[in-house]
Amino acid sequence: MSITYLEAIREAQAKALADDPRVFLYGQDIGSFGGAFKATKNLAKEFPGRVLDSTLSEDAIIGAAIGAAIEGMRPIVEMQYADFSTVGFNQIVNHAATLFWRTETPCPITIRLPSGGTNGSGPFHSQNMESLYAHYPGLVVMTPATVEDAYSMLLEAVAIDDPVIFCEHKYLYYHLKADGLPTEAEPVGKAKIARPGRDVTVVAYSAMVHEALEMARELATEGTEVEVVDLRSVKPLDTDTVLASVARTGRLLAVGESFPWGGVTAEVVARVASAGFGLLDAAPQRLNAKDTPVPFHPNLWGTHRPTARAIAIAVRELLRS
């Protein structure tokens, strides 16, 4: 059996619904229609009354999920696109994220954000928002890069008593496949060596892991062994695994698909520079998308986002330094 990243997300939701009566799904068009990307296909039929179509109101959707969580439920909310979570931003960062700290009331909600660029999606259907949410205290931010992680991390997200921002990458939805669903998983908060190598560490997450792996395969043909670290979650961020890798390679490139100012790559480089300065044989580097909105036309988009080719150039440069 072969299963896609998207199907894994569907299966995780099905399992969460089956295993725990407190789980329900909430979002636009997720009921009988099965969601804009079909991540909830058939779930409304399989779990009557537990997959609810919402109004077109992101702020109220998140607010309602918080209220339901206070009542002991464990909602999984789908934003139609990550980009639309800007409209529910306040409820996420000021209500969900502060509730436990302020009142000792847990807020176990999972917010699924279909994230990242795809062909022709343009400025408002391509954004990566992990860095914004990770900046705020009180949120867990997951960024699965594999089918297995999409499945197991989503299940873990639902089990966690805190609000989880689940950044699933649309570019991986249909193309990324695995042979089956995992039965066990690394715990959230642990990064993973996606490919071992001794010459340079490339830290990536979500879709960028695959660009990094493609680059690593290419550079392997030239005799360069790239170690690719998949962060898996960006908050918490597993500094130890990154440092251990840099200890082996002495060189670091952090790659992210979001905008260049701040964000995951800045955090990774800053942590390594602070805590692993002595491990570095060369200046640590970053590669991000360009500092403009995400362009609509594929000709532009292909340059805006980091690709295997662009990463390869950055790695070669880093190896020369």
């Binding site: 002991g72 209500h95 700290w101 966690i160």
Partner: protein, 348 residues
């Protein structure tokens, strides 16, 4: 010492139930009095530099606020806002909890992390507002949605907002969601004529805010917010209708804020004309006058109740002032309940 859930003095029988009108009125009056007296105390502590942050008073809005709470039952949800000291107490918050929040006691529900009006005990159905106006409405709606999914029936949720808050997108999305889902939500709008310094004429252009109810397809009720009997009756109807499956109920009360926006504010911007109209009537004084007129209480009784309220407040404040303040060294400085997921990286 703390007044709280189950306290005898004011175990108000909900007006929907068997209690006589007199009992209900008297009970409500005494919560109003306690609210007024406690807030006066907080204001004086604030002026004396004993309270950090802001103090916002519900002066002039006690009749409305208490009328919500006395019509709620155990198991209902109440999500108050900044002018709801009366409703908070009547819903079951102890004076101790309230005072601890203002003074930042380490022993209070908020533990000095958050203060004053942002307090609550969400798991008891007593929601803790965030500052962003309108944000609590969808939260209460979601809680009611959850109860329906759990098969729990018969409970209602009530939440309050000012006329200024009706201009927020959160208000609209929340009320609309509740309407579409036909949830037992009572939305009480206190049109106290000002949002901070901004007059109501700059917040909405409809003749009466209750005109909004039809636009959401929900029931609307108007009431004179300075009249305790009218408030009790209107809320009895609205809460009852929500409980009986009538869907969301919007209650619009007209009144005037009789204090500054917060205690830092001298509210010179309030039109003096307006203060002389019926809107400017002090609901507590009006309730007292009614009590005397109906001979439900004597001046002496009223004086005794006020003295009793003052005594409770003073005692509570004195006790809380002896309590330990928050101590940074005893904080875990962790915003998550899942301690294992703390992002522990620090470089110092």
């Amino acid at each position: 010492m703390g007044i709280g859930f189950g306290m005898v003095q004011a175990m108000v029988t909900p007006a929907t139930g068997a209690g006589s009108l007199k009992e209900t009125y008297l009970g409500a009056y005494r919560w109003m009095l306690l609210a007024r007296v406690s807030e006066e105390k907080y204001a004086s502590l604030y002026r004396g530099g004993k309270i950090h942050g802001s103090v916002f008073l519900g002066k002039g809005q006690e009749a409305l606020s208490v009328s919500i709470a006395v019509n709620l039952r155990k198991g209902d949800i109440f999500s108050p806002l900044i002018r709801d000291q009366a409703g908070r107490l009547a819903f079951g918050e102890s004076l101790l909890d309230s005072t601890r929040a203002y003074l930042g006691s380490r022993l209070g529900a908020m533990r000095g992390r958050d203060g004053n009006i942002h307090r609550g005990r969400p798991r008891d159905g007593y929601f803790a507002m965030i500052s962003h106006l309108g944000a609590m409405i969808p939260a209460v709606a979601g809680a009611l949605l959850a109860r329906r999914m759990k098969g729990m029936t018969g409970a209602v949720g009530a939440t309050t907002i000012g006329e200024g808050g009706t201009s927020t997108g959160a208000f609209h999305e929340g009320v609309n969601l509740a309407a579409v889902e036909q949830l037992p939500l009572v939305i009480v709008i206190a049109n106290n004529q000002y949002a901070y310094s901004t007059p109501a004429s700059k917040q909405f252009a409809c003749g009466d805010l209750v005109d909004k109810a039809a636009g959401y397809g929900i029931a609307g009720h108007s009431v004179d917010g300075t009249d305790l009997a009218a408030c009790l009756e209107t809320l009895r109807k609205a809460v009852g209708a929500a409980r009986d499956g009538g869907g969301p109920q919007m209650v619009v009360a007209s009144l005037l804020r009789l204090a500054g926006h917060g205690e830092h504010d001298d509210f010179r911007y309030v039109d003096p004309e307006l203060r002389r109209t019926a809107l400017g009537r002090d609901c507590l004084e009006a309730a007292e006058a009614a009590l005397l007129e109906k001979r439900w209480a004597t001046p002496k009784e009223i004086a005794a109740w006020r003295a009793e309220a003052a005594r409770q407040v003073d005692e509570t404040v004195a006790a809380v002032q002896r309590e330990p303040l928050p101590n940074p060294d005893e904080e875990d400085w962790c915003a998550l309940s899942s301690k294992r997921l703390v992002d522990g990286f620090t470089t110092e």
